[in-house]
Structure formats: C-alpha cells, structure tokens
C-alpha cells in the first residue's frame, strides 16, 4: 500500500467530519430524526402529508450549502472521471441498494455507528467492503 501524501487532507477532512457530526446532532436532538440522506430522499417517494415538510427543509438546506460555502471563501472541486453510462448505472445501484439496505454513508455510517448499532456496523462494513472491491476491479483488474 502506498499513501497518496499529495492529496491527503487530514485536518480539512477531520473538520468537515466534525461539522457532519454536528449536523446529525442538531437533527436528532432538536427534531428527533436520524440524518440519513437516502432515507430522507427515498421517503419522499411514499408521500404522507405530515412527513414531507422536514424532508424538504433538510434538502433545501443541503442545496443552499454550495452557495454558503462559496460565500465563505471555500473552493468547490467536483471531478467525475466515470463515463455518463457508468454514472447512470452507479446511480441506479446506489438508489436501489441504499433503500434495500435501509441506509447509506450518513444514516448507517455516521448515525448508526454513533448509536453503536450492530445493524449499521454490518451495513457499513458491507458497503465499504463492496466499495473497495468495486474500485479495485475497475482500476486494477479490468
């Protein structure tokens, strides 16, 4: 294993992580909800009137983030190397997989691990493992 020192950003990533934790803390302590993006978005596809508002408010906040981040002087880079076909296929798998697995990197990863949930630990190990294997196959085998 070789470490990519050129791109390694421990402090920025740690700071970002602390802010993510703070967001999850805010949502659960004030609103009693788990911050799980796949669940928040997926729940909109089974609409019940009393259940839509909080989801939309959260998503509106997320969508305001790039603007706020830029205004504070942050620089946004989004480099997508995957082809369009690959992106569509990946999106489909992520959509189906996160709903069947009841969560993604936020719900199972951040909140679930913080709750010390064996279910979320299992899910996180599964999607991280599959992510490592997926990249290994795409970059080093094919």
């Amino acid at each position: 294993m070789t470490i990519d020192w050129e791109h390694f950003t421990p402090w920025m990533s740690l700071a970002g992580g602390l802010v993510l934790g703070l967001a999850a803390a805010l949502l659960v302590l004030f609103n009693g909800r788990i911050l799980g993006v796949s669940g928040i978005v997926g729940g909109l596809l089974r609409p019940q009137r009393s259940d839509i508002g909080w989801r939309l408010a959260f998503i509106a906040g997320m969508w305001t983030a790039p603007l706020a981040y830029s205004l504070l002087g942050g620089h946004i880079t989004t480099q997508v190397d995957a082809s369009g076909v690959m992106v569509v296929l990946a999106g489909l798998l992520v959509g189906i997989g996160t709903r069947y697995g009841s969560g993604c990197t936020s719900g199972h990863g951040v909140c679930g691990l913080s709750r010390l949930s064996p279910r979320s630990l299992t899910a996180t190990a599964a999607f991280m493992g599959a992510g490592f294997v997926s990249v290994w196959v795409l970059r080093h085998i094919l």
Partner: protein
C-alpha cells in the same frame, strides 16, 4: 415552523461539512476507496470526526423520548441482521465505487449544476422508485412479512 428552521440548518451544515471534508469530490472519494493503488486515507478522518460528535449526541438522544423541541424521538428499532440489509449495502457499495458518489454528496454536487452529479441523482431517484414499486408488489402478494425499511 421552528422545527423547519432547525431542519434547514442541519441540512445546510451537513452540506457544508461534505464540501469541507472532500466528500463531494468523487476523485477524492475514489482515492480513498482505492486501497490497492495510491491510497488517500483522508475520508477515514471524516468518519472519525463525525462519529466523535455523533457518539455524544446519540448518547443523549437515546435517553430521551422527546426532542428539545418536543418532537417524538424517532430512532430505528429494527435489529435484524438480514439478507436485505447486507445485499442492499453491497449493491450500494458497488455503485459508490463506480462513480464515487453516495447520496448526500451527489445531492450537494447536483446543486452546483455539475452535469454528471445531476445525472447521478436522476438515476438514483429512478433506482429508489424501482425499490418502491417492487416493495408495493411484494406487500400486495401478502406472502412475505414486511420488515422495517428505515
């Protein structure tokens, strides 16, 4: 109304945390997932930082039946380590490794107008819709009990 403000701020902070940590850049995410190549361990620090704060917050949340604003505390109750959990997570992981996007970062990147992020989000919504249709068909047959999907 007060609740809506906190939900909005939580979303805003969450999005800014993703941008700050590098999670919204697929090339950075794939650098982390590429353990067999030149590995960028940064994202381990994202998870570490988030869980550090989360452990404190959920330790408090678990002891409460109501939130600070009086809403019901809605923590997951399912404990089943079933096939759906594992297979679904594996499928998600494969997709994550293919493009470097998971749901949160993809939504934030799509808000910047990044065309492939928009494409990813549309495909992800289609995938979620497929799940909804299959769930409804499955529940209508009445052959299998429904497990909690949260």
């Amino acid at each position: 109304m007060k609740q809506r403000i906190f939900e909005f701020v939580a979303g805003l902070l969450f999005g800014m945390g993703l941008l700050l940590s590098g999670m919204t850049d697929p090339s950075k995410v794939l650098g982390f997932l590429d353990v067999a190549g030149v590995w960028d361990p940064s994202l381990a620090f994202v998870m570490g930082g988030a869980v550090l704060v989360g452990l404190l917050a959920f330790a408090v949340a678990k002891r409460r039946s109501r939130s600070l604003l009086g809403a019901a505390m809605q923590l997951p109750t399912s404990r089943a380590l079933d096939r759906r959990l594992v297979l679904g997570s594996l499928v998600f992981g494969v997709g994550w490794g293919m493009a470097g996007f998971c749901p949160g970062p993809a939504l934030v990147s799509a808000a910047t107008g990044q065309p492939k992020a928009v494409l990813f989000v549309l495909a992800m919504l289609a995938g979620m819709a497929v799940f909804e249709v299959l769930e409804r068909m499955r529940n209508n047959t009445g052959l299998q009990p429904k497990t909690g999907a949260h």
